[in-house]
């Protein structure tokens, strides 16, 4: 390394300005990374894993006296579902199929619990988390179940504590345990096995694969098709007044709280989208600042660069000595960001925990890749502009 060359090219630059550029980079990239991290975290919370997501609603018909005496039915038929699908506010709808046979579950030793349960089934697209093991083919003995988290909570915190000798079992321990299953209907009976393979926050039911329910209803149960106990709706905005009115007019019932919370969530989503947008803008501004800084630094050293070139220094040599300086300038903020990000995140975490005690802010790999991505991008931008500015200032008269 030619120390004299470093001294000549960088000696004139003001240290203060370089530090300012670095600080701008740290702030810009950190803000963006934190914003996107928050966005990713809340996005998860607001849509896919949320029981009260405003994109999905479960509706049923209200139960009146007529139902009790058997004069009216609370089930939906295909025509009603077609009518629901026809509403422009509803993106899609599907009825839950229910079991048309008796189901008995036996836990076996040591708890030895025996209970009558029910099954429902719906397409995968409506289920928030579908484990790969949630499949069934005719001939298979084990029926996989996705259990509602709410159902687990009822059992674990409502039922179990009142029964002596039945321990509370953690969610994860219950997974993939095999239980005995006994199904009995008009056309026959069968002993099978069952496993809980996953939990759902969205659907309050015990959900089995459609293949199983179709087979069992046809071969064990009544074999009747075209009736559905409840209907799942996929909607654009659950809080829309039009949708509310439609449901009311048809006598359909859904969770009112769910509808109310929908509008708040839309606002949070909007807010986060704006934050994300600001993050993107900051990056563009940061890159712009970087380009202007390069231009400034090159123009400050213009006389020296011209002279060095006329002495016989090659453009690539001059480029290299300027480039490595800028590279160091940007590596330092990158390292600083990696130190700062976990600190900022833990600060946000403790802030959020004041009103969301159970919220865990996860820092995903993608978020840590953002500073690296911005670094790579800025190095490319820097190289392109540096080359251009260098040629312009050295070769100009």
């Amino acid at each position: 390394m030619n120390k004299l060359l470093v001294k000549i090219l960088w000696g004139k630059q003001s240290f203060f300005q370089l530090v300012l550029t670095m600080i701008a980079l740290v702030i810009g990239v950190s803000l963006m990374a934190v914003t996107i991290n928050l966005y990713l975290n809340f996005k998860d919370l607001l849509s896919d894993n949320d029981a009260f997501s405003n994109n999905y609603l479960v509706v049923n018909k209200s139960v009146g006296y007529l139902n009790t005496f058997g004069f009216s039915s609370t089930t939906f038929d295909d025509d009603e579902i077609a009518d629901i699908k026809g509403n422009p506010l509803i993106l899609d709808a599907e009825g839950f199929k229910a079991n048309q046979f008796d189901v008995e579950l036996k836990t076996g030793e040591p708890i030895n619990l025996r209970m009558e349960i029910y099954f429902e089934s719906i397409s995968k697209k409506y289920i928030d988390k579908v484990p790969s093991t949630w499949t069934w083919k005719e001939g298979e003995e084990v029926v996989p179940i996705i259990m509602s988290t709410e159902f687990y909570n009822l059992m674990s915190f409502g039922f179990t504590p009142t029964k002596k000798g039945i321990p509370q079992i953690p969610k994860s321990l219950l997974l993939n345990k095999t239980f005995d299953l006994y199904i009995r209907g008009e056309k026959g009976e069968k002993r099978m096995k069952t496993q809980i393979v996953g939990y759902s926050d969205r659907i309050n039911s015990l959900i089995v694969p459609q293949e199983f329910l179709n087979w069992a209803n046809a071969n064990i149960g009544k074999g009747k098709t075209g009736t559905y106990s409840r209907v799942m709706l996929e909607v654009e905005d659950a809080s829309s007044p039009g949708l509310n009115k439609y449901l009311e007019e048809n006598g359909y019932v859904t969770n009112k709280d769910q509808l109310l919370s929908g509008s708040g969530k839309t606002k949070i989503k909007l807010f986060l989208s704006v934050l994300g947008l600001i993050g993107g803008l900051i990056v563009i501004l940061t890159l712009n600042t970087l380009v202007m800084n390069i231009q400034l630094l090159v123009s400050k050293a213009k006389a020296e660069l011209k002279m060095l070139f006329s002495l016989g220094y090659r453009l690539k040599t001059l480029f290299g000595y300027m480039f490595y300086g800028f590279l160091v300038m940007q590596l330092l903020p990158l390292i600083l960001i990696f130190v700062l990000l976990p600190l900022i995140n833990s600060g946000i975490q403790s802030g959020l925990n004041e009103f969301m005690p159970n919220f865990v802010l996860e820092t995903s790999m993608e978020v840590m890749l953002i500073p690296v991505g911005v670094f790579v991008l800025s190095v490319v931008v820097m190289a392109l502009f540096l080359k251009r500015f260098l040629r312009l200032s050295v070769l100009s008269d």
Binding site: L5, I8, G11, S310, L311, G312, R314, L315, L395, D397
Partner: protein, 214 residues
């Protein structure tokens, strides 16, 4: 590079004013390697322009300059850099020193390109020019004559076949001029190089093989 040929070169700055009696502009001239040329050029006839064309700093001329039978106009910046590192050196009229830096730094920035001289050699040559005590002094504190001698030593701190002198001794007294000429002759002979010395008046600084008028 055996020779540099000027084929009817007319620089744009002197296009309207150059003398038809000029030996260089608009004529064919060959600068053979290893020979010494004297270019006598009164003010405004394009003396510095000639130096800069030879050194690749300006390309605004009609006609062609051929180096190694290749058109110099087509050389890339990189090719010029390599020529300036190993073939052609120049003592500028306007010196072009880094004013903030010391004499030795100004010489080393050239020398480091090829590590032509050791530091000891630079000091020995500086001694011959009488500038040893100036080596650690920033150029801005030097007199014009002192700077000119730093500039001479800087130009010699590389391998070269052609040394272009653009009024290289304009601010030196006779004694210092002779010291400069002696050192240039010594280094040029080691390099088997020739000088192209441009001056306002006719001089006899070097053993000229050819004298040209601009």
């Amino acid at each position: 590079m055996d020779k540099i040929i000027f084929d009817k070169v007319i620089p744009l700055p002197v296009k309207e004013t150059f003398s038809p009696l000029s030996d260089v502009w608009g004529k064919e001239v060959t600068f053979d390697q290893g020979l010494n040329f004297h270019v006598c050029a009164p003010s405004g006839t394009g003396k510095t322009t000639l130096s800069h064309i030879l050194y690749g700093l300006r390309h605004d001329y009609n006609g062609e300059v051929l180096m190694d039978d290749k058109k110099a106009k087509n050389f890339s910046p990189d090719q010029w850099s390599l020529l300036r590192q190993t073939r052609i050196s120049i003592i500028y009229q306007d010196l072009k020193l880094l004013e903030e830096y010391t004499g030795i730094e100004n010489i080393q920035i050239k020398n480091r390109l090829t590590n032509f001289f050791t530091t000891e050699e630079i000091i020995a040559h500086a001694d011959k020019l009488g500038i040893t005590r100036l080596l650690e002094k920033p150029c801005k504190q030097m007199s014009r004559g002192e700077r000119q001698r730093v500039c001479i030593l800087r130009a010699l701190s590389q391998p070269f076949k052609y040394l272009i002198l653009d009024e290289a001794f304009s601010h030196l007294d006779e004694g210092n001029t002779n010291k400069g000429i002696a050192l240039i002759n010594e280094i040029a002979q080691k390099n088997s190089a020739g000088v192209i010395s441009c001056n306002l008046f006719e001089d006899s600084h070097f053993n000229y093989h050819k004298k040209l008028k601009l």
